[in-house]
């Protein structure tokens, strides 16, 4: 009797769960569906959303969810098999490339995504049959079918722990990867369209990941994957080796395959560029470089860096650094020389120095710098080891701490190198996005991180200082109704000190009366401050030119003795200027975090009374946080004003303040790299999604990403050490030796 009721209850429970999952799918269908309706027909959106074939997909998702919840626990032991996670990542990558990414930029194919491209390419006789087969000349969904086959094969190999199956899957995945890239390249060639589309390459990466996952599974004896610190271990094995490999891959493409010079409709690789200039009077060195020196430099540096990394050899590491940096520089000189000469020689379509360049030279530069970076990592590793030995080996003993440092340093180097050499190869659209979205918001996030992340003061009016910086620039360049005296008319970059001063004063003026307030009260006051500044800007016609704002602000110029630098129409120039500003500020702030002031901020954030008791002047220290954050924002304002040339009070709305806070939180409050990464990702994503999803869905995807992030990484993208500890309830010890705390007598 009793037993029966338990069973019945379980069945009812099950039914309920099923119903809930279906309802979830239904709601999802409504959310993702069209959101438009008309006055006459309110039910339009609803009917569209539940229109027959669509609703089935979403109900299907519901059923899948139900199955996952119900049978998930039973599948658990299989989910930890070695290789299964990488397999998931690989499959997901391929799916993304087949659905979200563009496979071509050519306007002939309507959205450039896989589906329309495949439809167009499959029947095209001029394309070779292997490529056509990939696009479905025999069976319309060939790519998908192959993906499913290889996935099932790989998964079966892993779950049944059968090496032959896994090997088969690995081989198949490898072939598919090459095939996908081959087909994509064939299309580019056929369409004669220089392509920035990533679909084919990403599909290849995805398939290769599947292949590696299967190989791992085939060769692994273990029943369970050892995922703990996996990446740390891989990168920690030989310091810098990851960078050497990356540099090798990038450099191969750069040296042998990619275009170095592409005036008119030519696409010359390194060796064809050499023959192009063979008949001209290109200076001897540049010609030698193009002829053979370029290849030699690349391979020599590669070998030196590789050996230095493998042997952890100090001298070789120095050699790799010097070689890498010098040959990067030489490459740049050569590129400048031949592109300038190309303009003079009147090659068809050649415009002069730094123009008409392909991606090759930049990729080569990136590769050479990566080798130098590898050398640096080797030295760093040796230094840590030396220190550890001296300090009684408590750093080296733990091992993983060193490895983790390696990961951070390697990532940082890759980011820096990408920031230097990627932008010239990007389209004009992305160059503009880099400057006016990503770069500026990174700068703002760095500033706000001081206030919110380090000092723990929630500032919702941060954009006000940005406005003050912009208006200061407009004033000192004489573009406001009120004019400075003639002798004080400045070029925009010279406004930076004044903008900093103005923001310092404004920061102190706001902070002095309000910093006694805590938490939410401070947030509201700062929010009010931001709005006041905007409203003043909007209404003080005689001073700020009201809603029309300031315009014709000149672009920055530097005239220092023999150096003359001017910025103008190309976004690229502004990008490098911004990079210099960011680098200076990051270097300064990096010191700041571990300085006395930084420790004082940390103390105040954690316990203000205790901070006071240890003799910290809490008021001044908080004021300083405010002022420093504000002046960073002011610098961003100067840059913004002189880059866009004109702005209105509408550029400084509350929404922007809130966005910056969101970036900092998303990236990791209190962590400098985190705040920067957060701003970069969240400003890049909307622009990226522009091409990938319908415009009205964009915010939804971003919202979903933020939600997922906050669930799985609540401390942010790159969490600050302290904040991570706070959120994980302090239960993780701060270092390896703390786990070995003697039991003590217990309190």
């Amino acid at each position: 009797m009793k037993r029966r009721s338990v069973e019945a209850e379980a069945r009812i429970e099950n039914l309920k769960r099923f119903g809930a999952c279906l309802a979830g799918g239904f709601v999802l269908a409504l959310m993702v569906g069209t959101q438009e309706g008309t006055q006459q027909d309110f039910g339009y959106a609803f009917r569209q959303s539940v229109a027959m074939p669509r609703i089935l997909i979403f109900l299907g998702i519901g059923v899948l969810l139900y199955l996952a919840i119900t049978f998930g626990p039973r599948a658990k032991p299989y989910l930890t098999r070695p290789g299964l996670r990488p397999l998931g990542a690989g499959v997901l990558t391929v799916i993304i490339s087949l659905t979200l990414l563009k496979w071509t930029d050519s306007p002939q194919i309507n959205t450039g995504k896989f589906r329309p491209l495949a439809d167009a390419a499959a029947p095209t006789q001029a394309l070779d049959s292997l490529a056509r087969l990939w696009f479905g000349s025999a069976f319309s969904q060939t790519a998908w079918l192959l993906l499913i086959i290889v996935t099932v094969l790989a998964a079966a190999g892993m779950i049944r722990r059968s090496a032959p199956l896994s090997y088969a899957a690995a081989i198949l995945a490898g072939v598919l990867g090459i095939w996908a890239e081959y087909a994509s390249a064939a299309v580019s060639k056929f369409l004669h369209y220089p392509s920035h589309a990533t679909g084919g390459a990403v599909a290849m990466l995805g398939f290769f990941t599947i292949a590696v996952a299967s190989l791992v599974s085939a060769r692994s004896q273990a029943a369970e994957a050892d995922t703990d610190g996996f990446i740390d271990r891989v990168l920690g094995w030989r310091p810098g080796l990851a960078l050497v490999v990356l540099g090798f891959a990038v450099g191969l493409v750069g040296v042998f395959n990619a275009a170095w010079f592409s005036p008119g409709d030519r696409n010359a690789t390194l060796s064809t560029t050499a023959s192009m200039f063979g008949a001209t009077n290109l200076n001897g060195f540049a010609q030698t470089y193009l002829d053979w020196l370029g290849f030699v430099l690349f391979f020599v540096t590669l070998v030196v860096a590789g050996v230095a990394s493998y042997l952890r050899h100090r001298l070789l590491a120095y050699a790799a650094i010097v070689l890498g940096l010098v040959s990067t520089l030489l490459t740049l000189v050569v590129v400048h020389d031949f592109s300038a000469l190309g303009g003079k020689q009147g090659f068809d379509g050649a415009q002069g120095a730094w123009d008409n360049l392909g991606t090759g030279a930049w990729m080569t530069c990136a590769a050479l710098s990566l080798f130098a970076g590898a050398g640096y990592l080797v030295l760093k590793d040796l230094r840590i080891e030396a220190k550890g030995v001296r300090a009684g080996s408590d750093i080296v003993g733990s091992g993983t701490a060193g490895a983790r440092g390696q990961v951070a340093a390697a990532t940082m180097l890759v980011v820096i190198i990408a920031a230097l050499f990627y932008p010239p190869t990007a389209t004009e659209f992305w160059q503009t996005v880099l400057v006016s979205e990503i770069g500026i918001y990174v700068l703002l996030a760095i500033g706000l991180n001081v206030v919110v992340g380090w000092a723990g003061l929630l500032d919702l009016g941060f954009i006000a200082f940005y406005a003050i910086g912009s208006y200061t620039t407009a004033y000192f360049t004489g573009r406001l109704p009120v004019q400075p005296p003639d002798w004080l008319l400045l070029s925009p970059l010279a406004c930076i000190p004044f903008a900093i001063a103005a923001c310092l004063i404004a920061g102190v003026a706001l902070g002095f009366p309000t910093l006694r307030l805590r938490g939410d009260y401070l947030a509201i006051v700062t929010l009010g401050f931001g709005e006041i500044i905007r409203v003043i800007a909007n209404n003080a016609n005689g001073f700020t030119n009201g809603p029309r704002g300031a315009f014709n602000i000149p672009a920055p110029q530097i005239h220092l003795g023999p150096i003359h630098l001017t910025w103008g129409d190309s976004a690229l120039g502004f990008w490098y200027l911004l990079l210099v500003l960011i680098a200076i500020i990051v270097l300064l702030f990096n010191r700041l975090e571990n300085s006395r002031l930084g420790r004082a901020w940390a103390a105040i954030r954690e316990d203000e009374v205790a901070a006071q008791a240890t003799g910290i002047n809490t008021r001044n220290v908080k004021l300083l946080a405010f002022a420093i954050g504000a002046s960073t924002s002011g610098v961003a304002g100067v840059f913004f004003a002189s880059q866009v040339g004109s702005f209105t009070p509408e550029n400084f709305v509350l929404n922007n303040s809130i966005l910056v806070v969101a970036y900092v939180v998303f990236g990791g409050m209190g962590s400098l790299p985190g705040a920067m990464a957060g701003a970069a990702v969240l400003t890049w994503l909307p622009e990226f999604l522009k091409d990938q999803v319908p415009a009205e869905d964009r915010q939804m995807w971003i919202g979903a990403l933020i939600l997922v992030m906050m669930i799985f990484r609540p401390a942010g993208l790159i969490p600050a050490r302290r904040r991570k500890a706070e959120l994980s309830g302090l239960d993780r010890p701060s270092s390896a030796e703390a786990t070995a705390v003697p039991a003590g007598e217990g309190m």
């Binding site: 205790a610 901070a611 008791a613 240890t614 302090l730 239960d731 701060s734 309190m747």
Partner: protein, 238 residues
């Protein structure tokens, strides 16, 4: 001349007069206990001495110099270190970092002093790299005291160091206070634990709703009927 002289100070929280004109003094090298019921104004007294609050009337002199109205971060430079009520450690800093913060007024912490602190509190040495927030209550209190010591105090203000601790640990804490005092640090201690505080103290004062009602040597106060009734829970039999 006394090390600390408090002369008829009045302290207000808005309209509330928390201290209604109290006077006392602490001699160099003494341990002085401040007793009183909840809400009598003991914490307020200590905060005023350490500069976290200002008196609205009256004078405070340290070493003969007037210090009332000076902020806490100036007073700590004179050697007045405060261990505030309720074990306020920095939870997300390691034990070692907490101790470094205690020496904030110096350019860098004195390594010998650090070693002495760890000697005095071996438990803290064992937990040097642990987050302070994960320490037990007693360990946190020890850390709070050690952190104040890192500021090289001449006058150490302790606010209820035994609050919420097991009797064994309370005894340890009091032993440590005695040891600190024996190195020449003057101590002004606030305690509910009257018997132990008076056993340790040279002299004591009793506060009641913002007024000083009793004073005397530790022994005198321990013998006083009113004290015994109010703090030691004994019936007055006479």
């Amino acid at each position: 001349m006394s090390l600390l002289e408090v002369d008829d100070i009045e302290v207000r929280y808005g309209a509330i007069r928390a201290l209604k004109g109290i006077s006392f003094h602490v001699e160099e090298g003494e341990v002085v206990a401040l007793l009183g019921a909840n809400g009598a104004g003991k914490t307020t007294t200590q905060k005023t001495v350490s500069g976290m609050m200002r008196p609205s009337l009256g004078e405070i002199r340290f070493d003969g110099e007037r210090i009332d109205g000076l902020p806490a971060h100036d007073l700590i430079n004179l050697g007045i270190c405060h261990v505030p009520e309720g074990r306020r450690v920095f939870p997300l800093m390691s034990v070692a970092e907490n101790l470094e913060m205690g020496a904030f007024r110096f350019k860098r912490p004195d390594p010998q002093l650090l070693a002495r602190c760890f000697e005095m509190f071996p438990r803290l040495k064992e937990r040097e790299h642990q987050y302070a927030g994960t320490l037990s209550g007693g360990e946190q209190q020890m850390l709070a005291i050690a952190r104040a010591l890192m500021g090289k105090p001449r006058l150490l203000l302790l606010d209820e160091p035994s609050m919420g601790l097991a009797p064994l640990i309370v005894r340890q804490i009091f032993d440590i206070v005695r040891e600190i005092n024996s190195t020449g640090v003057t101590v002004l201690i606030v305690e509910q634990n009257a018997a132990q505080a008076l056993g340790l103290a040279n002299r004591g004062y009793v506060l009641e709703t913002g007024e000083m009602v009793l004073s005397g040597t530790g022994k005198e106060l321990l013998a006083d009927d009113r004290i015994r009734a109010a703090y030691l829970g004994e019936e007055i039999t006479t």
